[in-house]
Symmetry: C2
Subunit: 183 residues, 2 copies
């Protein structure tokens, strides 16, 4: 486990990813942009970006030892040449969600919604990194970044469609779906 | 559950708390200071402080629904007139701790160390607030702030002595114990 990495997703007219679409799934949307550049580091310079979202990587908040072993055995890193498609999905959860006990959140997330198990089914094709931002006074609670090959696009749509129908998603009160192609 | 609150503990020559002692329990110490002032808010002005520690409140990371109900029923808020003594205990946990699964960390913390149960035994006399700082790129992982009446001092010593002997504390690789009296 590395120390947490601070990441800024900077939207504007330059960057290594072409923005294909920015769509609100629930709640207020975000401005349009043509490109995204990703910067690592605290207080990094976001250059000439028009707007940005910030988050920080963290330790496992729900996954058990057994699940971490399964994830580690199957997952691929970011930056694979064949992973030319990406999605950035900022979500915010309800205030009620954050008042629940750890056991209640785990039960909703995995026992009822199979969030970790569903993710495992899409490894190694989909690589992802979760960024936390609730404690950074940002407008979202999580920014999840996914990279996958173009040939996997239909399967990726299936994953997000299924997740959005789970009991866990009843606790999501803002969600934006940003799709991108490597420039 | 309120939104997370950013808190700065600013040490120097002014502030509402007199610093009685700053003692390293394990690892590198911290500079001396005569006073502490506490500031809430992101990017707050720490005035003429010599040095400071920052953290942010968060949701329950380990407590179950049942434990949260017990805590809510018994705990008192900060700022009670009779709570003239305070302790600020910054700790950092090992890198290995942060690679463990959620189930493993919960087992060490509560099943083996009774951290939550021990804390409950000292309510309502001891009021406390936990601040997280691992994701803020700070030198510690947690800053825990305790307030208690002078008459409870011996019992408070007992609490910290017992906690430091638990299996959980084998994963603490830096700890400072700062004691204070309300000015």
């Amino acid at each position: 486990m590395r120390r947490p990495v601070h990441v800024s997703f900077a939207f504007g007219s330059s960057g290594e990813w072409i923005v294909d679409s920015i769509r609100s799934v629930v709640g207020a949307g975000l401005p349009s942009a043509s490109r995204l550049s990703i910067h690592e580091g605290l207080d990094c310079d976001v250059g000439d970006a028009d707007w940005w979202l910030r988050g920080v990587t963290s330790h496992a908040h729900y996954a058990t030892r057994k699940e971490l072993h399964l994830l580690a055995a199957r997952q691929e890193g970011l930056g694979r040449a064949e992973a030319t498609r990406a999605a950035l999905i900022p979500i915010r959860k309800t205030e009620i969600w954050w008042t629940l006990g750890q056991d209640q959140r785990r039960a909703i997330m995995e026992d009822q919604s199979r969030h970790i198990s569903l993710g495992l089914e899409h490894l190694p094709d989909v690589a992802r990194r979760v960024h936390h931002c609730r404690e950074l006074a940002e407008p979202f609670d999580f920014l999840t970044w996914f990279e996958y090959p173009s040939s996997y696009s239909d399967r990726f749509e299936e994953l997000v469609r299924i997740l959005r129908r789970t009991p866990e998603w009843r606790h999501v009160d803002r969600e934006i779906d940003i799709r991108l192609t490597r420039a």
